[in-house]
Symmetry: C2
Subunit: 456 residues, 2 copies
């Protein structure tokens, strides 16, 4: 009996792929107002499918933005309850001219399915739905209680789901969450993500003159906010990558020697990473730390853009009245957004050049998070992945932030199992996003086996 859901999944695989393509054709770009209806269409697509496969209490939950999709199946008396999470919204496809096939016309090439959202996160949402379908179709029931919650605003900050989770609704009572929005460390290597960096995203505004001035007339006497801003930014991080904010590193809890040893045994080729993934002349970062430590377990500071001033083609001789830098910092366990922001703000105010006014604003924040690995759900996931992929499961962290994982822990007390099937070169947020179809298939099988193991 226990293998029949997998046989069902294998037999129905071509249909599963066709359905995923249908979902990928909906351009549910959450950040663009003109795609508002497409986001709703994607939600309704999931709604209809959850209903069709036999989930219950299926409904759309309205938010200030795009709707949530909820469903449950709660007939596994005495068994634990999983909250299955994913998101149906996608990033904008720009730059369009770099796509080899249209972003919303899913295309198979070399065993991959290419489309915006293929792996982030529609493909991974779909593999969860198809695992549930296979279990229900083959056995008439599920091996544990299941609640499903899909959102449509992950790419724009996830405010709707955050507010819903913070309200601690009875619909979200569960024992653990299954978050399927991460990746394998390497092809064929079963992976659980057990740590995420937090972040503070800020705007740093520098104002000089009261209005834009002619740089010929006033150059040499009027403060230039772009120059003053550059002088501040240059003092935030040195050329080797050390953050220069006093006290910034003070509260970090470093990874254990065992975790560091495990990272050293991962198949990681720094030169391949530099050439194939980053494509830069050399890598940068804090001396004395490996690339995995620098991206998983050390805070970092990045500048994302500097709006204001003259950005057109050619020349305009203006001393702009103000400049704004979008600056974010990734935080690691031990650090808090509140303290990190306070240290940053007071340092910036201290080092700002004379002649300019400064405004430091916090735009977004998220706590770093470290998943305890000694719980039955992580153990169940470890076993299931090992069995399906026939290799030892590795535990990694991610340098990114998945704020919902922190929200699940803080508001609902749920540990998350971050089990994802993307690959490092899947071009998330970039042209030619793809999902390996073998990983889609094994992702369904892995999810079936995980739910069975978690049900005990």
């Amino acid at each position: 009996m226990s293998y029949s859901p997998i046989i069902f999944a294998e037999r129905n695989h071509p249909r599963f792929v066709d359905e995923l393509k249908e979902l990928l054709r909906i351009p549910s770009i959450s950040t663009l107002p003109e795609h508002r209806d497409d986001c709703r269409r994607a939600a309704e697509f999931l709604f209809a499918e959850l209903k069709r496969i036999g989930m219950e209490n299926v409904r759309l939950i309205e938010t200030a933005g795009h709707p949530l999709v909820y469903a449950d199946w709660l007939h596994a008396s005495g068994k634990p309850t999983v909250l299955v999470y994913g998101h149906y919204d996608v990033q904008p496809p720009d730059p369009l001219d770099e796509w080899l096939s249209p972003p919303f016309e899913p295309t198979e090439r070399n065993g991959n399915l290419y489309a915006r959202g293929a792996v982030d996160d529609k493909g991974q949402v779909w593999l969860q739905v198809k695992a549930l379908e296979s279990l229900l179709a083959a056995t008439g029931s599920l091996p544990l209680n299941v609640r499903v919650l899909f959102e449509g605003e992950e790419e724009v900050g996830g405010e709707g789901i955050a507010a819903f989770v913070a309200s601690k609704p009875p619909e979200l009572q569960a024992d653990f969450a299954l978050v399927c929005d991460t990746e394998l460390f390497a092809p064929g290597l079963p992976t659980l993500c057990v740590g995420l960096r937090g972040m503070i995203y800020t705007e740093l505004e520098v104002r000089g003159a009261k209005t834009d001035l002619h740089s010929g007339m006033y150059g040499g006497a009027a403060p230039n906010p772009f120059v003053a801003l550059a002088q501040i930014l240059a003092k935030l991080k040195d050329e080797e990558g050390r953050i220069l904010i006093p006290g910034f590193y003070g509260d970090i809890i470093p990874p254990s020697p065992e975790e560091l040893a495990a990272w050293r045994s991962l198949p990681f080729d720094e030169e391949h990473y530099r050439i194939a993934e980053v494509g830069s002349r050399q890598l940068v970062g804090e001396p004395g730390y490996s690339v995995l430590e620098r991206t998983w377990a050390r805070p970092t500071l990045d500048v994302h853009g500097i709006p204001g001033g003259f950005t057109g083609a050619g020349a305009k001789t203006v001393i702009p009245a103000k400049a704004v830098a979008k600056v974010s910092m990734r935080l690691v366990p031990g650090m808090t957004p509140a303290k990190s922001f306070a240290l940053y703000k007071s340092y910036v105010e201290k080092i700002a050049a004379p002649g300019v006014d400064i405004d430091v604003r916090l735009i977004h924040q998220g706590d770093p998070c470290l998943i305890p690995v000694d719980n039955p759900y992580i153990r169940a996931a470890t076993r299931a992945l090992q069995e399906v992929w026939d290799r030892d499961t590795v535990f990694i962290r991610s340098g990114g932030s998945i704020p919902i994982v922190g929200d699940f822990a803080r508001h609902l007390g749920l540990p998350s199992v971050m089990m994802g099937f993307g690959l490092p070169d899947d071009n998330l947020h970039a042209p030619n996003e793809k999902f390996n179809l073998k990983n889609f298939e094994l992702g369904i099988v892995s999810t079936i086996r995980f739910l069975e193991e978690a049900g005990g």
Copy 2:
């Protein structure tokens, strides 16, 4: 007889103002392709008026961009020839919501005429045309030979007129140029501008990864071109305003002790300038130099904008593949664009952080220029201004660049008389640009008297 042109001008003043308003209603914004026809309409407006007042050989000279307007009157046998220059194009009016009256609906308030182009430069073009009309209408002739050349690309680099001047056409044979695109040092103070800064306008591009990357995944390992750019910019100029490029100050020819003494006697209130003109917390600049020295006789470096990356509202966690800074330097006598750019480029290449690629591009350049004051035309202008304004004429420099003045000197051997009637608070290139109507009136009289004096 010699006063009748002035009486004509006084009697016709209301009509002159009405005509200027008509010219100001044409939105001849040279940088915006959608206003291409408006630029031509402004040129045709000048063409028609020059013809009507009795100038000869009036014609439009086509360029790759907006047309030049040419006219002449060459019947003053034995007299010198003046080349009268101005420009009919204007800056864009943005930000529109800061205008108290619409930029292309000229409005009189408090003795001023408010409109985009009121003083820069349509009002000053029109006062030249009206001086010629007054002379021709009152006396039937002009006191010297006159060639007129108006351009429509001054605000976008003036490539059309530069190419035309460089070709040394017979139409431009003259003894001196009259350039009416500057200002009085203070209200009521007759002023000649005898020095201009030159400039190099550059783009400094920094490239890190081959494509935009997720700052969570790659932050701490991938080079951030905005951070690398800030580190370079912070090393170009220190917080007191000294340019740090080795050798940059090496060739400067300082003003003479007499010129410096004359500047010290000008009515200049640094605190008023800081509050009313610049409006910043404090002024910046090289220690040991006065504001006038810093803006007229010292080079400076400004950053105008930093395109690239994420500049929208809210947060996007991207490590951009590249960042570009628009950086210009103003040059003073003794310096050359070629050497200054070479020093800048090699310094930037030397100080760039590891991990990034650098590209330094020269976008525009212009020589600094110093007008000899011991020629008969400057003497004639000095006398005419003194008589009309009843005060000693002062000689100033401008921190800006008027590239055509250098072109007239280099290609045609012409000294320029830079006689302008704007005021420091006329809001050039800014909202609520204005021209004081008394200055418009006295500008016409001053030009009449100058042409008479220059005719000998």
